[in-house]
């Protein structure tokens, strides 16, 4: 059934008719056409048989033990977010304080460069991850889904 309706009828309406999704006027138009068109009647019959086959197909599903536990609730997610924020603020404050004290100490220039280089590398890594996360959050396709 690769050919088209000989009367150039809009076959899309056949699917709409099959699914009961047409307006009353469109349903009437299809009904009238079907009375005269053997091609579209045959097509409707075949699509109907196909739909009966698909709708009656049953799928196996996993056992309960194959699922992870229910994802964490909102409260624990909020607690986790708060924990991260506090931990980051603490880490930045502590690192600044430690570096200030180190700078005041009698360490030589190489020791100072070594320690500051390490802290700078960690800070750059942190900033790059943060930028990535912000970019992902801005282009997140689920923002709309979550509404």
């Amino acid at each position: 059934m690769t050919d088209q309706c000989p009367r150039a009828f809009d076959e899309t309406l056949i699917s709409g008719h099959l699914d009961g999704e047409l307006t009353q006027a469109a349903q009437q138009k299809v009904r009238l056409h079907l009375e005269d068109c053997g091609h579209c009647r045959a097509l409707l019959g075949e699509l109907q048989a196909m739909r009966e086959t698909t709708i009656s197909t049953v799928f196996s599903t996993p056992d309960d033990h194959q699922w992870d536990e229910r994802p964490r609730g909102t409260t624990s997610l909020m607690a986790r977010s708060t924990g991260w924020i506090v931990a980051v603020v603490w880490a930045i404050s502590f690192a600044t304080y430690a570096m200030w004290h180190f700078w005041q100490s009698s360490a030589n220039i190489w020791e100072r460069l070594f320690v500051f280089g390490g802290f700078t590398a960690i800070a750059l890594l942190f900033i790059s991850v943060l930028i990535d996360r912000i970019t992902v959050a801005r282009s997140d396709p689920y923002t709309e889904v979550e509404k």
Partner: protein, 208 residues
Amino acid sequence: MTNRPPKSAVFAADLPRESETVVLAQRGETAALDELARSCRQQAYVFALQLTGNPDDALDVAQDAMVRFFRSLQRFDATRPVRPWLLRIVRNLIRDRARRNRIRRTESLEPSSDDVLRFEPKDENPDPEAMTVRHDLQRLVWRCLQELPPRYREVLVLRDYQDLAYAEIASTLKIPRGTVMSRLHRARRLLHDLVHERQRRTGEVRND
């Protein structure tokens, strides 16, 4: 894997109860959260399976979808039906994974792809021959479905396997209702032609 009804009927036809459960879940009631999880994860799995054709990927996607689902539950409008929203999360996750080539698509003739189907008699005294023909046809259609391009497969799955109305499909796929109808018809014609071609070539079951 155990065999269970694919469409968890808990929420399918009971919108006020579903809405009530969502509200309770949003307040953090454990029983409501568990009920939502039990109901939605099976729906998410079956839909993911229908789109990917692979049970392992479907389980991964369904679990990711449940994380997304519960993470955004607070912002969900409880007066709206859950199913289109859940299916949209699953569909977006599959698109993302496909983009990153993480979905291992099963080929249509791969024998394991049939393992996910479950065959059971429709009535109490089934005619064994008719039942075999029906199951063979279901198997054949399922294989051919895997050969459709994703945009046609998803609209066909949403209508003919998930039984969603056009408005719900439009909302799930974010396309106009008219596009749903035309794309669905095109998908049905493609599937129909594939099935007939396969039947002609291999002499597999006919539904006459």
